[in-house]
């Protein structure tokens, strides 16, 4: 008697389990998968949401990662569209890329650091460990904390490229992952120097975070100068596909590079494309 009663009890649990697993029979009609740059991911997710609102049968799934992953996922077909926060490299020229916004990368210091500007050579010397004290570049007598990005980040590649450095040349004291970790690190250390996305740095500096952007070669690191193309350390935010996009992917890319999303681009502190 007891055994059968127990079986019945166990049986009652089954429908509950079934319900949990059954939801998956409801599937959206079409799904678009984007993977890649963590810089673009929040923006792409917002664009995806707006796109979903206009196309109720479509789901846009955005997964974060890095540009190189975005490129390789697009190539292998793991993702319909890859996200890369840089230009395609020479060996990636078989892929198609579509710019949806621009971003600048600027050097940041703590607000209390009196240093107003650094020459390219000084930046190189600081990052390669030849200069380790701020007094050597006109600042206070304090140790420099070099903040570098972790391997694989396209911000790092852009930075290395501009200063013609190899990552193994750099002697960092802190290695960071994502953008805000860099800003928080510099904000908490008066001797730190780092490089981050200009838009977010401008936003944070304007909201009481104690950091400041340094000009590069005399050109102010501002969203404005990224927009007009005069700021040298800038990059396109790209969507990448293996072949010329068709159907849903094509519609999404067209939408993402249209002026319909300019407000979203600005809300994520990037620079919208200038269109004729």
């Amino acid at each position: 008697m007891k055994f059968t009663a127990l079986l019945k009890k166990a049986g009652m649990l089954l429908p509950a389990v079934a319900i949990l697993f059954q939801i998956n029979t409801v599937q959206a009609a079409e799904k678009l998968v984007l993977t890649g740059a963590s810089t673009i991911a929040p923006l792409a997710a917002e664009i995806g949401k707006r796109f979903e609102k206009q196309n109720p049968d479509v789901r846009v799934d955005v997964q974060t990662g890095g540009s190189s992953r975005g490129v390789s996922d697009a190539r292998s077909g793991l993702a319909d569209i890859g996200m890369a926060s840089r230009k395609l490299k020479a060996e990636e020229s078989d892929l198609k890329s579509f710019t949806i916004a621009l971003d600048g990368v600027g050097l940041i210091l703590h607000k209390d650091n009196p240093v107003k500007s650094l020459t390219d050579q000084q930046v190189i010397d600081i990052y390669t460990g030849k200069i380790t004290n701020w007094k050597d570049v006109g600042g206070k007598d304090a140790r420099i904390t070099v903040v570098n990005k972790a391997e694989g980040r396209s911000t790092l590649e852009l930075f290395l490229n501009y200063y013609k450095l190899k990552n193994s040349d750099i002697k960092p004291q802190v290695v960071i992952g994502d953008n805000q970790q860099g800003i928080k690190t510099v904000a908490g250390n008066t001797g730190a120097i780092g490089y981050v996305s200009i838009g977010t740095a401008e936003f944070d500096a304007g909201n009481g975070v104690p950091i400041k952007l340094l000009p590069l070669n005399g050109i102010a690191a501002s969203v404005e100068n990224v927009r007009n193309g005069s700021f040298p350390l800038s990059r396109p935010l790209n969507l990448v596909t293996k072949t010329a996009p068709q159907g849903l992917a094509k519609r999404f890319i067209e939408f993402a590079s249209s002026k319909n999303v300019d407000d979203l681009v600005e809300a994520q502190y990037f620079v919208p494309l200038s269109r004729k």
Partner: protein, 288 residues
Amino acid sequence: MSRSHVNKSHADDILRIALMSAAVLAVGVLLLILLFLVRESWPALQRIGLYRFVSDAGWHPLEGAFNLAPMLIATFAAALGAILIAGPIGIASAVFGRFYAPPVIAETFRRMVALLAGIPSVVFGLWGLTVLVPIIAKWQPPGASLLAGMLILAFMVLPTVALTADAALKAVPKQYLHGANALGISQAGLIFNVAIPAARSGLIGGILLATARALGETMAVLMVAGNVVQVPNSLFDPVRVLTANIALEMAYATTEHRSALFVSGLALMLLVVGLAAMAGKLGGRLHG
């Protein structure tokens, strides 16, 4: 009622089989994990070779250098430091709950510690990055350092030590304690000579589990330890631990680099196997 008698042994057989298959499944998970770690690390192990993982010039996977040794050392150092801090404090706070605090306070205290155990590591990390690291940076820049990693880890594994120690002390037979009391042993004597020896294996188990946690903690260390791949010369040097290495680079890694990161996962896994073996020798157990 009579039916249940007839079926008794039959039902027990079915039960035994069902239980056994569940256990096989549980063990299978571990084997699967090992299998997949090896499978994914294989390309790197083959092409790069085991030796280069400890002899290369550094960790620059995009430039073909794959030395994991500094990160292994940093992982050990951070976990060891954390345990040296959290061990005594955690056991002391369990002793507090069992022998010193009035029952109401003891219960509240236990609940608080249990809650602390549930705070996500990201929150510890965020707090460490915005509160702890700047404090250390004022004193000894860059602030993000082995010390910061140790302190945050100690904070995080403390509940593990405290809760397991609490359970171990609770399990000490009451007769021992009453007996000791009757003999007129002092409070300190009672704790050091009766309670702690009786709870020894539980305490060791807790410490080892906390060590495993400290070795395996990821996000919080990533946020506070500085992540520079180097063998630390002092507590104030930034270091990168193995877990942080995986979390920092996995989402960015392809091909050989990705495979090399699985090798760091495998290395971590072997560390834990070693720890569990040690636990077996010491008579403790690695459990929570």
